[in-house]
């Protein structure tokens, strides 16, 4: 948690509650929620839970001189039941970061390290230099730690294990007396240094992924679309640059550019590596040359036939990939959960090959799985985030762990991600959003969003009297499925198509929309058509509320829907079911100048959005970058 922000006391003016804050009703029985409302934090406009587990577990030990600045928050941290393996997990970053204080440490940063990911915190030392100066005053005993720099390398993990165990022991003995010694100024200096180190580590992680993608000669499994899901794992490659100013590192936080498909050389490269053989669409839309446009339906039979011979891909992942390809699984949450569960399976069946390091090999394997999934269907931003999380978890696996322990820890991490970031997040969103539904409301929704559906059902269960307008559009007509479920539950519904939005908007009092992602300029990246609906609502002065889980937030920015998008099967566009006179005309017209275009997403400008409802509360779109920043920090360091 950001130490600059003092915990608010209850004396603060009540006015603060006005606006984007739900009534802080006691939300019990869900672990992440209990984080949201600790006593000190309840009046903060943006409810950001403090980072949990390993980072916090690490910090009191690592910077043991720091007395707990905000006891109100700290006590809600690190529920050990959620992290069965938390204590060993914490030990490795500790060991590593502790090394930063040792004078001998900088030497190591010059040594050439393998390209693949090592541990997250191993990139710390270079940055930790100025920090050493500050901390030496607090007299961290360098004895015993001196061993690590020489011994600590991923290749001889056994030694490192010994070393870190040693460190652990030492800390246990040292941390207590140190606590009293520091003054306020020193604490401040330490915190500053720590923050700088964090930023640096993050930045390096990014930079390293780019570099390693470019020069991945030795590692054959680097995902060719690694840019889509930037690897977080900090590899040591870039570790050399010791004392670059923090400002420079900030720049590195910019997400790397995505694969542009009009760049022929890179496309060729990617093709050579791909599992799925795709044929390019015959007439592509000129405007979208930068996006992959392949003939749909050609890969499926090929993939199906190779189900039993395709050894590099785990069957569970393979199955999910096929389901993406056929469209059996769609929707941001469903796809993300399916991917994570497939990875869980894959991890369960994984065994480290001899002579290889678990975290490095597993990361590579996962990356190859992801690139397979991307070939089936481009990853959504939420999936990219989830994968990034998984990679950081793998990268931070302590080397001391046995393989089975590591696997169990990863599986439980994934499990926790699913429950906490997706399932519980939805519950929190519903709880917030339902306060915005009043009796007599007419709620409009577009397409089919799981969060909005849960919200409507919950509001109905609470006995609120409202009507739902379901707006739908070709080609997927997802609204019909939503309509069926809502009507089945006894909610009064009106169904119409997207063109009639401005007709129906007169009677609507609120618009609830789902989102595929929320970008850090406040733009909402969502199912195509959402922007149109929101625009009409804005023109009719109807508030637009976007429901989106925070794990879908992304630091990218986007102004239009063209630079980055996904193209669906164009043939779906030219065939209208039930309209034979149109279809027969279009069959032969496929050649030549006619190009059907099937966009999947569009970006809804932030000024059409009245409020974004996330698991951290209800925020205006301008607060998105704040959540992205805080959330990412939490995610990377947990």
């Amino acid at each position: 948690m950001d130490p600059r922000r003092p915990p608010r006391t209850v004396i603060d003016p009540k006015v603060r509650q006005v606006g984007f804050f739900a009534a802080p009703e006691p939300i019990a029985s869900s672990p992440p929620v209990s984080d949201i409302s600790p006593s000190g934090n309840s009046l903060s406009p943006v409810m950001i839970p403090p980072p949990r587990h390993s980072s916090d577990a690490a910090r009191p030990v690592l910077f043991s001189p720091v007395p707990p600045a905000s006891p109100g928050r700290r006590d809600s941290l690190a529920p050990s039941d959620l992290f069965p393996a938390s204590s060993p997990t914490a030990s490795s970053p500790c060991a590593d970061a502790e090394c930063a204080f040792s004078p001998g440490r900088p030497l190591r940063s010059n040594s050439v390290r393998p390209a693949a990911a090592v541990t997250m915190s191993s990139s710390l030392p270079g940055r930790g230099f100025d920090l050493t100066a500050a901390v030496t005053a607090s007299s961290v005993p360098a004895t015993g730690l001196m061993k690590i720099p020489s011994g600590f390398s991923v290749k001889n993990a056994g030694k490192a294990r010994n070393a870190s165990v040693e460190v652990e022991n030492e800390q246990g003995s040292n941390s207590k007396p140190l606590k009293e010694k520091t003054t306020k100024a020193e604490r401040r200096a330490i915190q500053e240094a720590q923050r700088a180190a964090k930023a640096a580590a993050k930045g390096e992680g990014k930079a390293a992924s780019v570099v390693s993608a470019a020069a991945s000669a030795s590692v054959n499994v680097k995902p060719h679309k690694a840019t889509k899901a930037p690897t977080v794992a900090a590899s040591e490659k870039k570790g050399g640059g010791g004392e670059r100013p923090v400002e420079k590192e900030r720049k590195k936080e910019v997400p790397p550019p995505r694969m542009q498909y009009d760049d022929t050389s890179r496309v060729e490269k990617a093709k050579r590596r791909s599992v799925v053989k795709q044929t390019e669409a015959r007439n592509r839309v000129e405007l979208f040359r930068h996006l992959p446009q392949y003939e749909h339906g050609t890969q499926l039979p090929d993939l199906e036939s190779r189900f039993f011979q395709l050894d590099p891909v785990h069957p569970a992942v393979y199955k999910v990939g096929l389901q993406y390809l056929t469209g059996d699984i769609s929707g941001g949450n469903a796809r993300c959960v399916a991917m994570l569960q497939a990875f869980q399976e894959a991890i369960k069946d994984y065994s480290t090959p001899p002579e290889k390091n678990l975290s490095r090999d597993l990361t590579a394997k996962m990356s190859s799985y992801v690139s397979f999934l991307i070939e089936c269907r481009p990853l959504s931003i939420s999936m990219g985030n989830a994968f990034r999380f998984l990679k950081s978890r793998i990268a931070k696996l302590p080397l001391t762990l046995l393989e089975s322990e590591a696997k169990a820890s990863l599986q439980s991490d994934i499990e926790q991600f699913i429950t906490e970031k997706i399932i519980l997040a939805d519950k929190v969103i519903v709880r917030h959003a339902v306060t915005k539904i009043r009796d007599g409301d007419v709620l409009l929704t577009y397409g089919s969003s799981t969060a909005v559906e849960m919200l409507l059902l919950h509001a109905h269960e609470l006995g609120k009297q409202f009507r739902v307008v379901v707006v739908d559009s070709r080609p997927k007509l997802e609204g019909q499925r939503l309509l069926r479920r809502l009507v089945g539950k006894g909610i009064s519904c009106t169904y119409t198509h997207i063109n009639a939005t401005s007709y129906i908007m007169h009677e609507v009092t609120r618009v609830f929309l789902g989102a595929s992602s929320v970008l850090s300029n406040g733009a909402v990246y969502s199912r195509v058509g959402t922007a149109s609906v929101a625009m009409v609502a804005h023109a009719f002065r109807v508030p637009v509320l976007v429901c989106c889980e925070a794990y879908k937030f992304h630091e990218r920015v986007q102004l239009d829907s063209i630079c980055s998008n996904e193209l669906g099967d164009p043939d779906v566009i030219s065939k209208v079911p039930g309209m034979e006179e149109i279809n027969c005309l279009n069959n032969q017209a496929n050649c030549g100048n006619l190009q059907p275009l099937n966009l999947i997403y569009d970006a809804l400008p932030s000024d059409y959005v009245s409020m974004i409802i996330t698991d951290y509360g209800m925020v205006p779109p301008t607060s998105v970058p704040v959540i992205v920043r805080e959330y990412r920090r939490e995610q990377l360091w947990m």
């Binding site: 149109i582 100048n593 966009l599």
Partner: protein
């Protein structure tokens, strides 16, 4: 007479059943029907024009009632009434001018006597119109709205009058009807050729390498784009398919057949694509007097998106689509709900639909409107067969085609029959 009645009834039934698609076809058929009504109407010696007007009004009222949403019917009825009044006026003025040089005396007596009551009405109408017409300097100087002013005002009217004036003056009793039918024929011709006249202006608006977006299908738009293509302009067109009828597919097919680069998109992708569009060109169902447009459903959304991205929103409309009425709540009052079966398959949703049918209102409603209202502030330009116009100029353009007396056709059932 009986065949006219059956004709009228047939047409009314067609209108009621919404068998006639498109305002152009409706307008044309209405004009043809009115022509036969006029030609079969027995003209009395006294007040010929009044008799014709009454007859047309009677029929027109039924037609409008048959499909009040199809504004083209009312427009044509008013146009024909206007034609009758204009022809009558020009005849009267001709009579007044040729009072001394007339050849046949007995006819002249008749006309003189008969036309006096009409003349007074005509003068009133002319006075009313002269407030709308651009005042010529002469009328301003001679501040008399009566007989002396009439020649000037009427000579500034449409070319139909000019032609009628050259006709034989000897048989004036039959002449009015004849002239009116001539003028109606011209009107029918105009309706038929309005596409070409609009399309002629295409080159002035479409340039090389432009990207044009349109929604649904409109013959006017097709001709317009094709005319620009004929003039060796190369541009690309985005066609939104236009739910729920997906006429955009047909338009795209036509465009491709004529060699235009066409991209077919869904309606939902309009907002995404419009940032790369240079111009939105659409057809209209009707243009109201305030410059608002009754358009196929979805166009309001397109217009809003165009406004957001500062893309010109151009509406093509033939003059038969100009409606002299001011809209009030047009989204609801001038709209029509089509069958829900276009949106939902009854077979799939039958169980939901009668979920609670016994106990009050059903749970599921399906709304399928036909038209959208685009407010004048969202329209950048109208292109009619008389050139390009601002939305704020529409009221004035409309005054050229309609006389103020006919704005309300339905209000006079007593005089109608």
């Amino acid at each position: 007479m009986p065949d006219v009645h059956t004709l009228v009834n047939d047409f009314i039934i067609k209108l009621k059943k919404r068998k006639i698609e498109g305002s152009q076809a409706t307008a044309k058929q209405t004009a043809e029907l009115l022509r036969s009504v006029i030609s079969s109407q027995r003209v009395p010696y006294t007040n010929q024009a009044g008799a014709l007007i009454d007859a047309v009004k009677a029929v027109g009222e039924q037609l409008i009632a048959a499909n009040p949403v199809e504004l083209a019917v009312g427009n044509i009825v008013r146009r024909v009434l206007h034609i009758i009044r204009e022809e009558d006026l020009s005849l009267t003025t001709a009579a007044m001018a040729g009072l001394n040089l007339s050849t046949v005396s007995d006819d002249e007596d008749d006309v003189d006597r008969d036309n006096y009551p009409v003349l007074s009405a005509a003068v009133v109408a002319a006075a009313a119109r002269s407030t709308l017409r651009p005042p010529s300097l002469q009328t301003l100087l001679e501040d008399m709205p009566d007989a002396a002013a009439i020649p000037h005002t009427s000579s500034s009217g449409g070319d139909s009058e000019g032609k009628s004036k050259s006709a034989d003056k000897s048989s004036r009793s039959r002449k009015l009807k004849h002239d009116v039918i001539e003028a109606v024929n011209e009107l029918i011709q105009d309706i038929g050729t309005c596409h070409e006249q609009i399309a002629e202006q295409a080159v002035e608006h479409i340039h090389h390498n432009e990207v044009i977006l349109t929604l649904g299908s409109s013959k006017t738009v097709l001709e317009f784009l094709f005319a620009a293509k004929e003039k060796k302009r190369s541009f690309r067109v985005f066609v939104a398919e236009g739910a729920p009828r997906y006429q955009g597919h047909l338009l795209a097919k036509e465009l491709v057949a004529r060699g235009l680069q066409t991209t077919l998109i869904t309606d939902s992708a309009i907002f995404a694509m419009i940032s790369r569009v240079n111009m939105v060109i659409v057809g209209a169902h009707a243009v109201m007097a305030n410059g608002g447009v009754i358009a196929p459903v979805g166009l309001n959304m397109v217009a809003l998106a165009a406004q957001r991205h500062a893309v010109p929103f151009v509406v093509l409309a033939g003059s038969h689509k100009l409606c002299p009425l001011y809209p009030h709540n047009p989204e609801v009052l001038l709209n029509e709900l089509r069958s829900p079966s276009e949106l939902l398959d009854f077979g799939e949703f039958s169980d939901c639909m009668d979920f609670r049918s016994g106990t009050g209102s059903p749970l599921l409603h399906v709304v399928n409107p036909t038209f959208d209202f685009v407010p004048p502030k969202l329209v950048s330009l109208f292109i009619t067969d008389t050139g390009g116009h601002n939305p704020s100029y529409m009221y004035r353009l409309i005054a050229d085609y309609y006389s103020a007396d006919d704005l309300v056709v339905q209000r006079r059932p007593a005089t109608g029959s």
